[in-house]
Amino acid sequence: MNILVCIARAVETTAKISFTDNDTRFDDTGVQYIMNPYDEWYSLVRALELKEKEGGEVHVVCVGDSSSEQVIRKALAIGADKAFRIDLEPKTADETAFQLAEFAKSGNYDIIFTGKETVDYNSGLVPPMLSALLDWPFVGIVSDLEYENGEATLSREIEGGVEIVKASLPLVLSATKDLAEQRIPNMRGIMMAKRKPLEVVEAKETAPKVNFVGFSKPEKDTEITYVDPENMDELVRLLSEEAKVI
């Protein structure tokens, strides 16, 4: 089984969010980047488990400039066999999906694993766009995957529950919590990762269909009113008369 895992670099979740250049650009001074948790904890690990059972190789691919090599090395340390970096600083989901699709076409992959969304821009658009560009079936927000006799059985999130589906390969899926248990890279993995291949691939020409023109932080007046814990009637009164929410 040949598996491709798409990994994104994301802003660390406790980072202070601020913008620069007249609020047109995220200010990443002093900000730490991590591997997107959905990719690291669930998607990559489930891909590795599948390979351990079925044989084959797990490749990881990341659209990013050289600053994303740190997260790529981590993926190799966790156990991926080979890595590719498409040399482009990603700006929009359509651009990223296009690069990934062009790359995937050049390989012979049976399953492409992605994460449900990146924890910074939260678009969740790359996985379905990728599937449409390849014309492969897509199963989104997957929390369980079984593979038997060339057919995948998956649990995917739906409104108010989960749906169990069967899908044929090749397939694009996006991972969410419960798909696998996080693996921490060990010393041996980290050493081996240094010798594993990391190939840089040239990006292809494309014109993004959207652009981010500015950012803002929602203003919220957080003037707090404390209510006596003995007097919950007062809280109910405030919620109904002042906040008008009940």
């Binding site: 910074d120 379905p128 560009l133 927000i141 269909k209 023109v213 404390y226 009164r237 906040a243």
Partner: protein, 316 residues
């Protein structure tokens, strides 16, 4: 060029977030003086759509609802039929899977988690939540075609009745590379993503055996229940209730956070709620900084008291 709204229906009913998407589409149609149409899967009673201003509905036949690619292809077919400039979808698990595919099929620019009407029509600019609700981005779509995924509770549903609704069946070759085996629905309760009132609990509850305290309050309020991540990680509560950066993002009218410290990753998922009440025994808990109303006290005393107070208020 028309405005098309994908009207998802679940077992024949149009949920709140679909009605929000219709209201959004109708307002956009008015602003741009474009015709408005709906595209509908399954076989619901489309007559109800008249109430919200839909006079034309395309009924998808042959698309396999469990296969997002099949649905996206069906919708894309209607898009070219009505020469749609903009398609509105709900930003829920169905819409999230379709929006990106639809964008590729129609050659449209896609904006997800849209939280307001466009701030400008020429050029087309609309705002979207990013960084798990901690910030907003203004996204410009320069091309003619757009797909927008609308976040719940971003617009107030409005009625705008029309007299008749004209329906047309559109058959699409569904294909079915994904086949539904079964659905496991969580029965009862208010679905969290679209709830207007939410009661949420954290590690302060000590264990799942104490959740009835929270459920009693949610019950009298008619609220949905939610939790912090450690709570779902410890299997005290199901994963789909976990809100925050790695869970779901919600923006209800009222969010009551009980025994939750207010870590930045948690706040990210809830800080766009209209009103936030925090109940915590630690006056230094960071959540108080984001709260509108605060109660410093032991949840095991305060919450039952609050439940009684709500009962009294509702009974009055």
């Amino acid at each position: 060029m028309s405005i098309l709204v994908f009207c998802e229906n679940i077992e024949g009913t149009f949920k709140k977030n679909t009605l929000e998407a219709i209201t959004y589409g109708r307002k956009l149609a008015e602003q741009t003086q474009s015709p408005l149409a709906a595209v509908v899967n399954g076989s619901p009673d489309v007559e109800v759509l008249k109430t919200y201003g839909i006079g034309k509905a395309y009924l998808l036949e042959g698309s396999n609802t469990g296969d997002s690619a099949s649905l996206a292809k069906g919708i894309a077919g209607v898009c070219s039929k009505v020469d749609a400039s903009t398609v509105i979808l709900t930003y829920n698990s169905t819409g999230k899977s379709i929006a990106g595919q639809l964008g590729i099929l129609c050659g449209a620019g896609v904006v997800n988690s849209v939280n307001a009407l466009p701030s400008s029509l020429e050029p087309f600019q609309v705002s979207q939540s990013v960084f798990a609700g901690k910030a907003e981005a203004v996204v410009e779509v320069p091309g003619e075609k757009k797909v927008l995924g609308l976040q719940s509770n971003s617009i107030k549903i409005e009625e705008a009745p029309v007299d008749t609704i004209d329906t047309e069946i559109v058959t699409s070759d569904g294909g079915s590379r994904v086949e539904v085996i079964r659905q496991d629905k969580i029965s009862g309760g208010v679905p969290l993503p679209e709830a207007e009132l939410v009661v949420s609990g954290g590690r302060g509850f000590k264990g799942p055996e104490n959740w009835n305290i929270l459920e009693d309050l949610a019950g009298v309020l008619g609220a949905a229940t939610a939790c912090s991540r450690p709570v779902s990680d410890s299997d005290w509560r199901p994963h789909h209730e976990h809100v925050g950066q790695t869970g779901i993002t919600i923006r209800p009218n009222l969010y009551i956070a009980i025994g939750i410290s207010g870590a930045i990753q948690h706040l990210g998922g809830v800080n766009n709620s209209k009103t936030i009440v925090v109940i915590n025994k630690d006056p230094e808990a960071p959540f108080f900084k984001a709260a509108d109303y605060g109660v410093v006290g032991d949840l095991f005393d305060v919450v039952p008291r609050l439940t009684e107070a709500v009962k009294k208020y509702k009974g009055a």
